[in-house]
């Protein structure tokens, strides 16, 4: 919006909870101990697929120190849960379906006793054949993974389509058709804090759970159902969360229910904390995916038609894979103009762990595949990759391959131009093209993206917030949308401060607590800023109205005649009264200074049957350039520098936005080069962080960033979203840079040094 903003967009704005964290006094769930607290250990499956023939926890109860042990039989409906497909169990029922699948839980006085209890459990399994290759999951003779096939078609978990014209005749007429398949392994979230839940029973039969989950209200609803309690008897409080990135939902729903049940049985506080090894096995991952793309262009390098076939590995359970596969489908051919396009997507069950939400939510794979494909096409056309993108990209008013119009201003061109200029693209490109075949080869590559905002066709997209002014003149803000490190508490505080015209120091934002915060949908899809931010704005406007009422009464004038300046009201008499005085007066008047704000993204419609409609209300855009060095002998890729531009409308909390961008790029870099969570016949190949390699401070290069300003009338102060999309250009930009450096096309990820070395040495 304008430069008249005081708190929103202020580069000095600081995270509201950073001080507690740097002092080491932020209390994560693992930092909380209560007297009399029991420790939980889980019995998990060591095999990828088996029928449970016998499960008897009574020997565990005989182990000294063990107080309780539970199985699926201790829950309503055997603890069945899961949305949109209810195919999972809090503790395995009838079958185990992946290595790490929780089967039983033991609560004991000490961790050691709980571990001994787990060892004592009597478990007999009958191993079943395993399906580990998603390409064979739908074979006639493939072992069936779910108990009940949700689509009546064996291991088919979800199928989705996009239909926009008929690409076949156009492809047949195209000068060039690229026809390639891109493969991506699972990715582990590797939030630094492992999963944890602490359940505290109350004498009235209710239970309070501190859980490091992402969506406490959904967790509560789920837990209440399978515990057989009324929702008001389950209270979920979210302590500080040590990272999530989409990864702390379903798995936390399981642990919330498990600890709650054990607390209710034992009448004692009960805590479950996973170790890193347990977390890597049991928690869900980004789905592995292969994307088969056919894209045609004419002789002038103009894209004409595209077809995409996606296959997602949902693993043992559906979790969010049906929805992330949908998002993958909506972005599969990238941010370009086509005359016609179709997408056919299948998500299938296997015995490879299980897949769920992870930052980028399907577009991580789609953007990577399509941006490498576009680079291949630019190469075939003999056109500079950035030129090629500028020529074919979606601009405001264009129609996306899904058939809908890009209605709001697109910042894509500005982003591409910025990264081109800042990276010295033309010079470097020419210089690297001219280098000889030495041991070290440099390359520079580009990628860009669009990313649909909010839930889109995935569901009703709304949020609620509450604001209350207290007797001591402070302001309390609350939202059910959670802050797991991405800075939404700070964003909401700044939006409230700006709307009210009061300093952020006056506002305290509570952590989510299902007892006091209003239900507000899931904290996913980078939707907190726009949807949650608007709900906060609406609430702040309402409370500002009440304050004007009180001030008008105090100053005996019409509310319209009041001027609000520097936290003072000035009436016609021109002698200002302070906000504090007005608040006091409001209380004297009996005005309740407590309001709720609600906001919903304008409704859009996607028809799943016909594969057409409007998938998203709006999009954010961005572009990145990566400069790499490839060591031909070692096959190792070093990223020297990254330039990143993202269009997020008005930035609310600049330091935080920049941090999101930088952190997203680091995750994208890991996805490109080292982070493959692979399975062999259903057995995970990585056990701890010494094997699953995250980028370190030596791997992540210096990064130059910018936020391109565009107007978006529906955002709070014009803000769009950014947490998710910022990671998705990094992987393809690196792959495209590797191609320039050594002429090897990477279509399998991660790009391991061993693989690249093999390609280079032949």
């Amino acid at each position: 919006m304008s430069s008249s903003l005081k708190y929103v967009g202020n580069p000095q704005a600081q995270a509201v909870d950073a001080l507690d964290k740097v002092m080491g006094r932020a209390r994560y769930v693992g930092d909380m101990t209560l007297s009399g607290m029991l420790h939980v250990k889980l019995l998990t499956s060591r095999v990828p697929h088996a029928r449970i023939m016998k499960l008897d926890v009574s020997p565990a109860l005989a182990v000294p120190g063990v107080v309780a042990a539970i199985t699926s039989a201790d829950f309503a409906e055997n603890g069945a849960f899961g949305w949109p497909i209810k195919d999972a169990f809090v503790l395995a029922h009838e079958k185990v379906r992946y290595v790490g699948d929780p089967i039983a839980a033991v609560a004991a006085e000490t961790e050691a006793a709980a571990t001994a209890g787990v060892r004592a459990i009597l478990l007999e399994l009958e191993e079943l054949p395993v399906v580990s290759d998603p390409a064979h999951a739908l074979d006639e003779d493939a072992p069936l993974v779910p108990l009940v096939p949700p689509k009546d078609e064996g291991n088919l978990c979800e199928s989705l389509i996009v239909r926009n014209g008929d690409p076949d005749p156009i492809l047949a007429a195209c000068e060039t058709v690229l026809d390639e398949t891109y493969h991506f392994q699972h990715q582990e979230h590797a939030y630094l804090e492992m999963e944890g839940a602490l359940a505290i029973p109350a004498p009235d039969g209710s239970v309070t759970i501190f859980a490091n989950d992402q969506s406490p209200h959904i967790n509560r609803g789920n837990a209440a159902g399978i515990l057989g309690l009324a929702e008001e008897n389950v209270r979920v409080i979210q302590p500080p969360v040590g990272g999530s990135f989409g990864g702390k939902d379903d798995v936390l729903y399981q642990f919330t229910a498990v600890t709650a049940r054990l607390a209710l049985i034992t009448h004692r506080p009960v805590r479950l904390l996973l170790t890193r090894e347990e977390s890597l096995q049991t928690s869900y991952k980004r789905e592995a995916m292969s994307l088969h793309l056919q894209i045609g262009m004419d002789g002038n390098g103009r894209l004409r038609a595209g077809k995409a076939n996606l296959l997602a590995d949902s693993g043992a359970y559906a979790s969010m894979t049906p929805l992330s596969s949908w998002r993958a489908s909506m972005h599969a051919l990238g941010t370009y103009r086509y005359e016609a396009a179709t997408v056919d997507t299948q998500a299938v069950y296997t015995n490879n762990g299980y897949s769920g939400a992870f930052r980028g939510f399907g577009n991580t794979q789609s953007a990577a595949a399509s941006e490498i494909a576009i680079d291949e096409l630019a190469h075939l056309a003999g056109i500079d990759p950035i030129e090629f993108r500028l020529k074919n990209m979606l601009r405001t008013g264009d129609t996306a391959f899904t058939g809908n119009v890009i209605a709001h201003e697109s910042g894509l061109e500005k982003c591409l131009l910025w990264v081109r200029e800042q990276s010295d693209w033309a010079d470097k490109r020419a210089q690297y093209a001219a280098q000889d075949d030495g041991e070290l080869a440099r390359g520079i590559g580009v990628a860009c993206y669009f990313h649909g905002t909010g839930l889109g066709g995935e569901g009703l997209d709304y949020a609620r917030a509450t604001l209350e002014i207290n007797r001591d003149h402070t302001i309390t803000l609350q939202s059910g949308l959670t802050d797991y490190g991405q800075g939404s508490r700070t964003v909401f505080t700044l939006v409230a401060a700006e709307t009210l015209g009061v300093s952020p120091e006056r506002i305290f934002m509570l952590r989510p607590d299902t007892q006091t915060a209003l239900e507000t949908g899931p904290t996913v899809a980078s939707r907190a800023s726009i949807v949650g931010g608007n709900a906060v704005r609406v609430a702040a406007e309402k409370i500002s109205h009440l304050l004007h009422l009180a001030a008008a009464d105090l100053l005996a004038c019409a509310a319209e005649r009041l001027l609000w300046q520097d936290e003072q009201f000035i009436g016609p008499s021109e002698s200002p009264v302070s906000l504090d005085a007005v608040i006091d007066h409001a209380f004297e008047m009996g005005l309740q200074l407590s309001v709720q704000g609600y906001w919903q993204i304008p409704e859009i419609h996607w028809d799943f049957e016909t594969g057409s409609g409007t998938p998203y209300f709006t999009y954010s855009f961005g572009a990145q350039v990566a400069d790499v060095t490839v060591n031909r002998q070692a096959g190792a890729v070093r990223v020297n520098k990254i330039w990143a531009a993202h269009d997020a409308g008005q930035i609310i909390y600049p330091n935080g936005a920049k941090g999101q961008l930088l952190g997203g790029i680091a995750q994208g870099l890991g996805y490109a080069l080292t982070e493959g969570f692979s399975y062999k016949n259903g057995y995970p190949e990585k056990k701890n962080l010494n094997q699953y390699k995250l980028p370190t401070a030596l791997d992540v290069p210096e990064i130059e960033t910018t936020f391109v300003k565009t107007t978006f009338p529906n955002g709070p102060f014009g803000a769009k979203n950014l947490a998710e999309p910022v990671m998705i250009a990094t992987t393809p930009a690196i792959a495209n840079a590797v191609f320039q450096a050594v002429g090897v096309r990477c279509r399998q990820f991660p790009i391991s040094a061993a693989w690249l070395r093999e390609q280079l040495l032949g």
């Binding site: 600081q14 995270a15 909870d17 950073a18 001080l19 507690d20 964290k21 740097v22 002092m23 080491g24 006094r25 932020a26 209390r27 994560y28 693992g30 930092d31 979230h189 590797a190 939030y191 630094l192 804090e193 492992m194 500080p240 969360v241 040590g242 990272g243 999530s244 990135f245 170790t275 890193r276 797991y484 490190g485 991405q486 800075g487 330091n655 935080g656 920049k658 941090g659 930088l662 952190g663 997203g664 790029i665 680091a666 995750q667 701890n688 962080l689 010494n690 995250l694 370190t696 401070a697 030596l698 992540v700 210096e702 990064i703």
Partner: protein, 160 residues
């Protein structure tokens, strides 16, 4: 075994099994939960504390090596009145904190570095942080915060 050492300047004695690691002693015996578990095999640095001036992964530091040492944890950096030290403050100002779980360990690694090398360049800072994983920030703002603190400390010392 009985071990005596100091924690944040305070003399401390504990009676623990020789194999018990410093991370568990700090968290479970002494109630200092600033250092975090992230892998418990020395691969993430979330548990970093300073022992006799050196950054150490407390998850692999056994009680048997603790006798007579001086241990400094994140809880020991603030002034007695609770004011954060300059490095802690710089982390807040540079937006170097997101989820915060890695931060106590990273700040201790940063303090250990500045103890040895008061004027590190960005590469040296990155090298000193190589054992500390952060999944949220991409490290850039963390390097900024340490670099700014080093400059500021050097400037202050010159002025004295």
């Amino acid at each position: 075994m009985n071990v005596s050492f100091t924690v944040n300047g305070r003399p401390t004695a504990v009676d623990v099994p020789p194999k018990m690691v410093l991370l568990d002693i700090l968290r479970d015996v002494l109630g200092l939960t600033g250092a975090k578990p992230g892998c418990e095999i020395g691969s993430c640095g979330a548990c970093t504390v300073i022992v006799d001036g050196e950054a150490q992964n407390s998850c692999t530091f056994p009680a048997s090596r603790l006798e007579g040492t001086a241990v400094l944890t994140i809880e020991g950096l603030a002034a007695p009145d609770g004011t954060p030290n300059d490095l802690q403050q710089a982390f807040v100002e540079h937006g170097a904190v997101q989820c915060g779980y890695c931060i106590p360990g990273i700040i201790m690694a940063g303090e250990a570095l500045l103890g040895h090398n008061p004027t590190p360049n960005r590469t040296e800072i990155r090298e000193a942080l190589a054992g500390n994983l952060c999944r949220c920030t991409g490290y850039v703002q963390i390097v900024d915060a340490i670099e700014a603190t080093a400059r500021q400390r050097a400037g202050v010392e010159e002025a004295v």
